[in-house]
Point group: C2
Amino acid sequence: MSATAHDVPVVKVLPEPEDLPEPLPEPAVGELRLETVLGALSDPLRLTIVRKLLLESEAFDHSCGWFGLDRPKSSLTHHFKALREAGVTRQRQYGLERRSHVRVADLDARFPGLLELVAAWTPKTP
Amino acid sequence: MSATAHDVPVVKVLPEPEDLPEPLPEPAVGELRLETVLGALSDPLRLTIVRKLLLESEAFDHSCGWFGLDRPKSSLTHHFKALREAGVTRQRQYGLERRSHVRVADLDARFPGLLELVAAWTPKTP
DNA sequence: TCGCTTGTACGAGTTTCATCGTACTGCGTG
DNA sequence: CACGCAGTACGATGAAACTCGTACAAGCGA
């Protein structure tokens, strides 16, 4: 193709799509169901996860441990899987870690306004 | 601004609050919780109810039977109660009937955009 | 290669929820 | 006042979901 021998890569701002590991199994955009997504978001812990991803993750995926959640690992696996299978997050395997990010574009396309509600959410005080 | 003393009220679009029976017990606006509301809306039958109220109820409350749902009465009671206790609907007793409407103003104030998602929802086809 | 780390799989215990039959209440009408 | 109707309350059943311990797989570094 157009790539020649003297083409030198300079800086890579973001990893190329081909460089990323394949996402774990997830529903396609057209398969997203409102009732399923709402069900996944009806749990305080999962709201916490998604909100933290929305507000504090600057274009990076984050592994399970980054959230600092005080729960056993098997519980966290359960909730991250629930979010991914509902289509809220995407997960990729980076060596040891499995990192997550919110499918912002997909969710905004299918359910505009929903993520703003999650970002504005605050946990119950008492 | 331009309103002066000789402005005469023309039509009463909505009935006065004093004419209505007291609403059944429900959470106040400030007590609405996103996780609870999303949980109430994560059920296809309840989404059907709320959507139908949003799209087809022209400023009127509607009784249980109006929806034409093919379920036993005790099931319907369960779901209408779930919606009311989550703060999605308001119910008033009119003689024999208990009529419901969506708390549009309250929900729009606390969770802007949420009801638009419900209105745009369509049940699963298969 | 031997650990250490990250996370999964599986399974049990508990809880919560949906469904719905039956019996009941409360209102309105004849 | 007796009947009928809208809807509730209660309870049983079964399915789903949350929580979490334990055991296991896979990557990475010394």
